[in-house]
Amino acid sequence: MSVEHASMRIIDGYARGGTDLAADEMWALEAHLEACGVCRDRLSAAVTAEAPAVAALVGTVWSGLEPQLAVIATMPRQRRWSAWLSRWMPWS
């Protein structure tokens, strides 16, 4: 499936906060980004290159997120797994 992608001008403008984009450009881009991984990747690159505040936010949120991952969803799974493991491999 061939898709029309957003222009670099619009991607860059959005990464910088979108204030210099027209309302319909913004709308079209946001609708497009929901469906297009290629343009999301291009947007990520634009954020890295020209939106340090956003990149920092993404990093900060990940730092807060990471320690919680082990505690939350994985836990029951791991408990079951390690119980199974210790039954079969008592030395582990």
Binding site: Y14, A15, G17, G18, A22, A23, D24, E25, M26, W27, A28, E30, A31, H32, L33, E34, A35, G37, R40, D41, L43, S44, V47, T48, A51, V54, A55, L57, V58, T60, V61, W62, G64, L65, Q68, L69, I72, A73, T74, R77
Partner: protein
């Protein structure tokens, strides 16, 4: 950290979410890496408070980690990013609601939309030509309501919370926005 079995780049986000549903940490990390900058920008467009944006992102991705199976199990053909945004938009509304209980309501930037009519469904996917012109001519307060309801898929009540408006005002503006769009496209 073990690596995703197949080269992560070769996997689309839908596949990543399915791996996350099985507790795959590396897939989750990859999903975050690919979608978080987009998510951050889209939330910042709708909420001027950086603290709330960070909080909403954290809650959203924790929900994804916890409940990826809910998406993985659905075969309705939506994109993983669309699913992520649905979660984020609701968490944002919840955050606004919580703040409203405490003190000053947070500064909304611009919010999305509500009930899809035919012309709105077109809006949610592509915007160009006449539709673009019509959108551009719409007054900001009508466009804001339309955006919250159509693009972000929020209800009247959620839109009211997000924009800090009475529900009646949201309804009136949504109606006026629809009429304006219909006339512009006639």
């Amino acid at each position: 950290v073990r690596s995703v079995r197949k080269a992560p780049r070769a996997l689309d986000e839908e596949r990543l979410v399915r791996l996350v549903a099985r507790g795959d940490r590396a897939a989750f990390e990859e999903l975050y890496r690919r979608t978080a900058p987009w998510m951050a920008l889209r939330l910042r467009r709708r909420c001027a408070d950086e603290q709330i944006v960070a909080e909403v992102m954290q809650e959203t991705y924790l929900a994804v980690w916890r409940a990826a199976g809910a998406f993985a199990g659905s075969s309705t053909g939506g994109t993983a990013a669309g699913w992520l945004w649905t979660i984020a938009a609701r968490r944002l509304v919840d955050a606004f609601r919580r703040r409203a209980h405490h003190a000053e309501p947070p500064a909304a930037a611009a919010l999305p939309d509500a009930a899809p009519a035919a012309e709105e469904e077109a809006l949610a996917t592509t915007v160009g030509g006449d539709v673009g012109d019509a959108l551009r001519r719409l007054s900001p307060e009508l466009r804001q309501v339309l955006q919250a309801m159509v693009l972000d898929g929020l209800s009247v009540r959620e839109t009211a919370v997000l924009l800090g408006l009475p529900e009646g005002t949201v309804k009136t503006r949504a109606r006026r926005a629809r009429i304006a769009m219909r006339e512009a496209l006639a």
